[in-house]
Amino acid sequence: MSFLDEARKLLRENIREYGMFIALFVIMAYFAFATDGLFISSRNIVNLVNQTGYIAVLAVGMTLVIVIRHIDLSVGFLAGFLGAVAAISMTSWNLSVYLTIPLVLGLGILAGLLTSTLVAELGIPAFVATLAGWLGYRGALQLATRATGTIIIPNDTFNAIGNKFIPDIPDIGILPEIHKVTLLLGLLGIVLFVSSEILNRSRLQKQGIEGLSTPMFIIKVLFVSALIGGIAWILAGYQGLSWTAVVILLVAIIYDFITRRTVLGRHIYAVGGNPEAAELSGISVKRITHTVFASMGMLAALSGILFASRLQSATTTAGTLFELDAIAAAFVGGVSAAGGVGTVIGSLIGALVMTSLTSGMNLMGIDISYQYIVRAIVLAAAVIFDVTTRNLRK
């Protein structure tokens, strides 16, 4: 098999997995060109990541919810409400930030379990149950902020999550303008990636399984390494890795591991693929439903924390339409509405695509009305792509 043939075959077989990376790359390249490089400036990329944060974590949770054939419309206002609770906790109850964050995450889990009880135990369609949540949390947010209006959060530690960067080692003369810890982390990422790829490959070969050909393998490893290195370099050129980026990375790593490597993840996809078969195999569909909605609630709380921290305040309308942005991000990232299909990383890329569109079009000074229409087209195109490539593979 020639190199080009292999490339073509790989592209055809993995078009769904690669499609969103290609889309993100094309969008970023276009904006970089259209804004004379402003779009990929360090400062803008850092902003982009911080703007993506509160939608990205919701999109991760939403991915699993959609995988098990449900939906959660309540998470936007739940995030807004829990952000307000965090603000009140620190300003009125005088709880420390280290107590506030676990408390709010715990409340998020409880809210998720309330939803899953309606869905799994009482058999109420998730659309209806979470629409009720959407109304309820909206009211709760307004009640929580009624007395004071916008609640200013004076806590520097809390506000750092959405605005500050990880510390750097003191200046030692080399690379004075560059954030060295970020570069080192990028390097560590590359080393970990390359070594795990090589280990994996040799293990597969020992079992006699044909993987990628050697040139293709080298290209893949070089490409991903260059990507990690490039991102680290761009981030390091401004102020380094933001705390929001750290949160996204942690959520991504943990959820990617759980979905791909653990029994729980396997069961979530089994329930999504065929709930009856999963139940017959001894998998408790109820337990999986509770777990997935609890995780969604916790991530909604995290989203609320990220947003409140970024604005350094809890506002009366925080969280409005977050849920729809998260759902759109998940679908752009390859999640299938039929259930059972979709990855955490895909949804993160989907969130990045949607925020990139907003950010790029803002930089180009495009009217907000057109921005909505462009995003509509991208969402529709992503789903059309998903449907057509699925039929193509069969």
């Binding site: 653990t262 089994a270 693929g273 078969a277 017959l280 001894g282 998998i283 593979r393």
Partner: protein, 264 residues
């Protein structure tokens, strides 16, 4: 079945009764399956075949009667109970998750764990894939990769995966509900071969089918149900033509070996 008659049957159902509201689905059915035997279960629609097998596989709890496995009485509260006792059911619609690969389906609900971090078990991919490859090879099932998603397999291959899954955990009894119903002729032959292979390797099997020639080709013995009662329990022998005529006679009620012994 020379040597097996001395051991107790692998499964014995005695006087199984089940009703749904006013409808008597099973009116006291006896059934015995011997070791390494293939038993065909026949009957018209609503004769009680599926109900009887759902009782045996733990999906229904009978109103009366006993279930014995190797002479021991057992009670099933759900299908998992039955599976733990070695009763495996292959469902008509395969009961596979099409979005997962072959290996994941074979081990669905019984995943092998490499490390346990609190409640989180880390999957042992290598072991499960190796075992699946061995299993497919042993049953001579033709599937190129255990990492292939089930949605990309043909109907016959899916049925083979469903059957392979049922045999993966040392099942005592494999129940197949209409294993050939949705398949092409070529695929039916492969499933028949697979059933023969399983028998050759020592399995005990019950097959429900509408297709009389499938039962004829693989079964040692057959039971015909009619209106919730057993009307015959006899070895499968003779010409296909005679067999067919005989079965139809039992199915429509023209013949009945047990008419006097049970009252409706």
């Amino acid at each position: 079945m020379e040597q097996t008659t001395e051991r107790s049957p692998v499964v014995e159902l005695q006087g199984i009764k089940k009703h749904f509201g006013a409808v008597q689905a099973l009116r006291g059915v006896d059934l015995a399956l011997h070791h390494n035997e293939v038993l065909g279960l026949l009957g018209d629609n609503a004769a009680g075949k599926s109900t009887l097998m759902k009782v045996l596989s733990g999906a229904y709890i009978p109103d009366g009667g006993q279930i014995l496995i190797e002479g021991q009485e057992v009670h099933f509260a759900n299908p998992m109970d039955a599976r733990r006792k070695g009763i495996e059911m292959v469902y008509q619609d395969y009961a596979l998750a099409n979005n997962l690969d072959v290996s994941a389906n074979v081990f669905m609900g019984r995943e092998v764990v490499r490390v346990k971090l609190g409640p989180i078990g880390v999957l042992d991919y290598r072991y499960m894939e190796k075992e699946t490859r061995n299993l497919l090879a042993r049953l001579k099932i033709d599937i190129t990769s255990v990492r292939q998603k089930v949605e990309r397999l043909s109907g016959g291959q899916r049925q083979a995966v469903a059957i392979a899954r049922a045999t993966a955990f040392d099942a005592k009894v494999i129940i197949m509900d209409e294993p050939t119903a949705a398949l092409s002729v070529a695929a039916i032959d492969k499933v028949i071969d697979l059933v023969r292979e399983l028998k050759a390797q020592g399995s005990s099997i019950i097959i429900i089918s509408h297709r009389l020639e499938d039962i004829y080709r693989v079964s040692d013995r057959m039971i015909v149900l009619r209106q919730g009662r057993k009307v015959t329990d006899t070895p499968v022998e003779g010409e296909l033509h005679d067999f067919r005529e005989k079965v139809v006679a039992y199915m429509i009620g023209a013949r009945d070996d047990y008419r006097d012994s049970t009252a409706g």
